[in-house]
């Protein structure tokens, strides 16, 4: 009975507004707007225990896939700005608004950038038992036998990356959207789609087991995680710098002190030796950022992608 009354008093106390020093007052949920087992989801799940240790509160990863990440993103934009609901998303945050004009939120004001986590390169995957071994052969073959290219969703960076490659190489790919990197990789495994611009961690175990074949790294340079795979620039395609970054956001109107605290804590995790050792094999290049610097970057990219989408005619 005594415990009951204490609980009662505690619970009543929780109703008062929170100051930054009390944060976090409860479970922090990190919304990942993609299906489980994709790139962002894996990174979030690796980070969660470190943040939990720092914050002394449970940190739960919550998948809200769909709409090329915009479903989960829109939900966080509507959440309470108490810092207990955070969004961990990819550069889709800046690419999707370029081709989805009627989003129910404004990416410039309805969410606050907290920290840039890092970035990964894209690798082009096809079935492990495919008879084609190189990217130029694959592109040539697509002119006879049209291919399907999977994406992690409409307007995601994987969508932009593959559209850009199609435009540059003259390949005959039709784009099919899935609800994140996990399902897109499964589509390659099952033969439903023929090529996917994936990250190393989304492909996971399937590269080592030979279920998928890596045709090339999309970009100028090879990557350390797969030193034997040529880059598209090496193969004679135009030079291109396309990465997928991952960042953390909070609902617009979150207390700047809380934002600063989360930013500092995330930066600390990104320097943790054990954490670095787990994610480097997955091709992550980690960053250090300030909320202001990240916000400026997001703002610049929002305009940049919009322009690119118009120039290249990428649309729904």
């Amino acid at each position: 009975m005594k415990k009951m009354i204490t609980a009662l008093a505690l619970a009543a106390g929780l109703a008062t507004p929170l100051a930054a020093q009390d944060w976090p007052s409860g479970t922090v949920s990190i919304v990942v707007p993609y299906s489980p087992s994709g790139n962002t989801d894996i990174l979030a799940r690796h980070m969660a225990p470190y943040l939990e240790e720092k914050w002394g509160q449970p940190v739960v990863v919550d998948n809200k896939p769909g709409g090329g990440s915009m479903v989960g993103t829109a939900q966080v934009s509507q959440a309470n700005p108490d810092g207990l609901t955070l969004l961990m998303t990819t550069s889709a945050y800046v690419t999707a608004p370029a081709i989805q004009p009627d989003l129910p939120f404004d990416p410039r004001t309805d969410l606050v950038p907290i920290a840039n986590v890092g970035y990964v390169s894209y690798i082009l995957l096809t079935q492990g038992d495919s008879e084609i071994d190189t990217l130029p052969e694959f592109v040539e073959d697509s002119k006879e036998n049209p291919k399907f290219a999977a994406t992690a969703g409409l307007g995601t960076t994987t969508h932009f990356a593959i559209e850009q490659f199609i435009a540059q190489s003259g390949a005959n790919f039709d784009v099919v959207h899935f609800k994140g990197g996990g399902p897109a990789v499964v589509a390659i495994l099952s033969g439903e789609a023929d090529i996917y611009g994936s990250s190393v961690s989304s492909a996971g175990d399937n590269i080592a087991s030979g279920k998928v074949k890596v045709l090339a790294v999309l970009g100028n340079d090879r990557i350390d995680a797969l030193p034997d795979v040529p880059s598209t620039a090496e193969l004679g395609y135009p030079e291109t710098e396309i990465h997928q970054w991952v960042g953390v956001f909070a609902p617009g109107g979150t207390d700047p002190e809380i934002v600063a605290k989360i930013n500092a804590d995330i930066n600390e995790v990104l320097q943790n030796e054990a954490f670095i050792a787990t994610v480097t094999p997955l091709d992550w290049t980690l960053e250090q950022s300030t909320p202001e610097g990240f916000a400026a970057e997001v703002d610049k990219e929002l305009s940049g992608w919009k322009k690119l989408a118009e120039e290249q005619g990428i649309s729904k």
Binding site: L8, A12, A15, K316
Partner: protein, 149 residues
């Protein structure tokens, strides 16, 4: 007993209306796309048509046969749904315990009999039991008592 099955005729008519509304909304507000690139409007527009067709079939059958009188109650749904609405309105500004008392009192009225003693006992009992389970055992964060003013 009705000569024709009015219940199903009204049911069928409501289906037709609902289906038409769904199709109208989809066609008007959401892009349709093409069969190979469907927009968000195509699938629901099709569902609306399916609903309307089912409504027509239902009503057409009902015209050919007698049907029973419906058993429509007024007070039971009123007090029960009212109790739930009161809970929804109270829980955020005033907290869990007032919401519990409200739903117990209002929904009990659906019985059309007032039993003050057992009502008070169940209000007190459940106001202790529910917080014990949800807040204390399961650790959910619901304020028990609040004063918004």
């Amino acid at each position: 007993m009705y000569r024709i099955d009015y219940v199903d005729i009204v049911g069928g008519a409501l289906l037709i209306l609902f289906g038409a509304a769904v199709t109208y909304t989809s066609v008007t507000y959401y892009p349709m796309g093409t069969p190979s690139r469907m927009g968000p409007g195509m699938f629901p527009a099709g569902l609306g048509v399916v609903l309307a067709v089912l409504g027509i079939l239902l009503a057409a059958q009902a015209l050919r046969r007698p049907g029973p009188r419906p058993d429509v109650r007024i007070f039971s749904p009123l007090f029960i749904l009212g109790g739930i609405a009161a809970f929804a309105a109270i829980i955020v500004p005033f907290g869990l315990i007032p919401a519990i008392v409200a739903i117990l009192v209002i929904s009990s009225l659906a019985d059309l009999k007032i039993r003050p003693v057992s009502l008070v006992i169940s209000c007190i009992g459940l106001s202790l039991f529910a917080p014990f389970i949800f807040v204390f055992l399961l650790g959910l964060q619901i304020p028990l008592l609040r004063w918004p003013f």
